[in-house]
């Protein structure tokens, strides 16, 4: 790669700040207390008609930030984990339109010094529609400003409450695998590859739909209406693409930072002052893709920094993931 001039350096720096979220699943509420599910972003590359993705994640809980942002440890001797196996697919509907569906299956394992629980079930599923507004012309050398055009995708997604929520028949919070609410998101995904670097940013804003509740943990209660708070999410990352050998296989390493915020929910229109949360986390991922790019394998890690100020009213966890993806041309 040629040594870039000052304008190019500025643009690359901007790209670095923007970062590549498509490899990293957005943070999701998960675990025995908060529901789970959700899957990684499923973006279909140009030239692919469809893809199938299978990802296994293990989320290990390690305390939480309280409402003041102070980190509190989990009870001594506890071991709280959630495993998620997410089957996802994306398909091209038209030249610039694609849709994806991610369906997780969730296993909860919670061990305290005085209570042990294991359960499993579907998590909440996500149906997404993407419009490819701009195409990224992946480049090695900057020749004109047009070469800096990133890929830009926009579209809605719908979270479907297929998981086990507190409003279903299960009687224990340890069984919860979903939140029980439909959510409609607007999403923006921007990616740019300037070989050997790749960067991207993902933004989302979601609104939960209000629902009626007449049951909590298997017991009927006086009916009420509930809505969770609006959700804002953002993630950015930077990757480096290494070509392996002479065959054309690629290994992409990515570092990312993610932010999520959910406002207070309401119950019968009254604000629930205990429900707002926010979380910032960092992550890394390795993605191997074969010469023909049909097969790819990924490994990822997402870490919540436990220091004060990095989150509020939310569990701190590490999420380890491995996945395999096949693209149909």
């Amino acid at each position: 790669m040629d040594a870039p001039g000052k304008p190019t350096r500025t643009l690359i720096l901007a790209a670095l700040l923007l970062g590549a979220a498509s490899l990293i699943p957005p943070p999701v509420l998960a675990g025995s207390c908060c529901g789970g599910g959700g899957g990684a972003a499923l973006i279909l590359p140009k030239g692919n008609k469809a893809l199938v993705d299978l990802t296994l994640e293990m989320e290990k809980y390690d305390g939480f930030w309280n409402q003041d942002g102070k980190h509190i440890d989990d009870p001594a001797g506890s071991d709280l984990r959630q495993y998620r196996l997410t089957l996802g697919t994306a398909a091209r509907l038209a030249s610039r339109w694609q849709a994806s569906l991610a369906v997780p299956y969730v296993w909860n394992h919670n061990r305290y010094s005085g209570n042990v629980s294991s359960s499993d079930g579907l998590g909440d599923s996500t149906l997404s529609l993407w419009y490819e507004a701009l195409d990224d012309l992946s480049i090695w050398k900057l020749k004109s400003l047009k070469d800096l055009t990133p890929s830009v995708l926009i579209g809605p997604s719908l979270t479907i409450p297929t998981g086990i929520s507190p409003y279903d028949d299960r009687t224990s919070s340890f069984d919860v695998t979903g939140r029980g609410f439909y959510r409609l998101d607007g999403n923006l995904q921007v990616d740019k590859t300037f070989r050997p670097f790749t960067a991207s940013v993902a933004l989302g804003y979601g609104r939960y739909l209000e629902r009626a509740v007449n049951k909590e943990y298997g017991r009927y209660v006086e009916p009420y209406h509930k809505r969770l708070g609006n959700r804002t999410s953002a993630s950015a990352s930077l990757g480096y693409i290494a070509v392996l050998g002479t065959g054309g296989d690629q290994l992409t390493g990515t570092a990312s930072i993610s932010y999520i915020d959910e406002e207070d929910g309401t119950r019968n229109g009254e604000t629930d002052p205990t429900s707002e949360f926010r979380k910032t986390s960092v992550g890394g991922a390795l993605l191997w893709s074969g010469t023909d790019r049909d097969w790819s394998v990924k490994a990822s890690w997402n870490h919540a920094i436990q220091a004060q100020g990095w989150g509020e009213n939310f569990p701190t966890t590490d999420v380890y993931g491995i996945g395999v993806r096949y693209g149909f041309r």
């Binding site: 469809a50 009870p75 569906l101 929520s165 943990y217 009213n313």
Partner: protein, 183 residues
């Protein structure tokens, strides 16, 4: 839309729908009031029933019985905690927004995840609830959790005649406030 796409999408949708049927999720929730009628004079966890009595150790090892905690008070509140983020938030809200208005009500946090009194005491201290107004009781073996059909965040109000007046999730705290105001 290519033939591959036409094959894969329906397959995934079928998997999704099959899973929904299997797990019994609530995709179209109902707001109908389906609370079953309660027979007065029976003992149980439902509103209107006689509260099941219990005796549990607190975090200093002293036994506390429901039956001896009611006299001299308008009632007691049981809050079931597993020392999680939601539990801490709701207990803090109760401490700041509800306890000051009800000095004649006893507030008990039922720890149902600790296996020893010492573990419960450690969690009480690390979560900042020592001398908080809550008496933390240790539900070793979970008899009280089961007797009250409770789980994380379940909030039970028992009046001074021993009748259950509320048994549901803490929510915003306004239901608890209203019921305590009516004791």
């Amino acid at each position: 839309m290519g033939s591959v796409s036409r094959r894969i999408m329906p397959l995934l949708v079928a998997v999704l729908l099959a899973g929904c049927n299997g797990v019994g999720t609530d995709l179209s929730p109902s707001g109908a009031d389906r609370r079953p009628p309660v027979t007065p004079g029976t003992t149980g966890p439902s509103v209107g029933q006689i509260a099941p009595d219990f005796t549990l150790p607190d975090t200093l090892g002293d036994n506390v019985a429901l039956s001896t905690s009611l006299p001299g008070r308008k009632g007691v509140v049981l809050y079931f905690t597993m020392w999680c983020v939601i539990c801490g938030d709701e207990m803090s809200h109760m401490r700041s927004a509800i306890m000051p208005a009800h000095p004649d009500v006893g507030f008990f946090a039922i720890d149902y995840v600790s296996g020893t009194v010492a573990d419960a005491r450690a969690s009480e201290l690390s979560n900042g609830f020592a001398n908080s107004g809550f008496t933390v009781l240790v539900d070793l073996g979970n008899p009280v959790l089961h007797a009250y059909a409770a789980t994380m965040g379940t909030t039970v109000v028992i009046d001074n005649t021993g009748i259950v007046r509320m048994n549901e999730n803490y929510g915003t705290g306004s239901r608890l406030q209203a019921i305590l105001g009516g004791l």
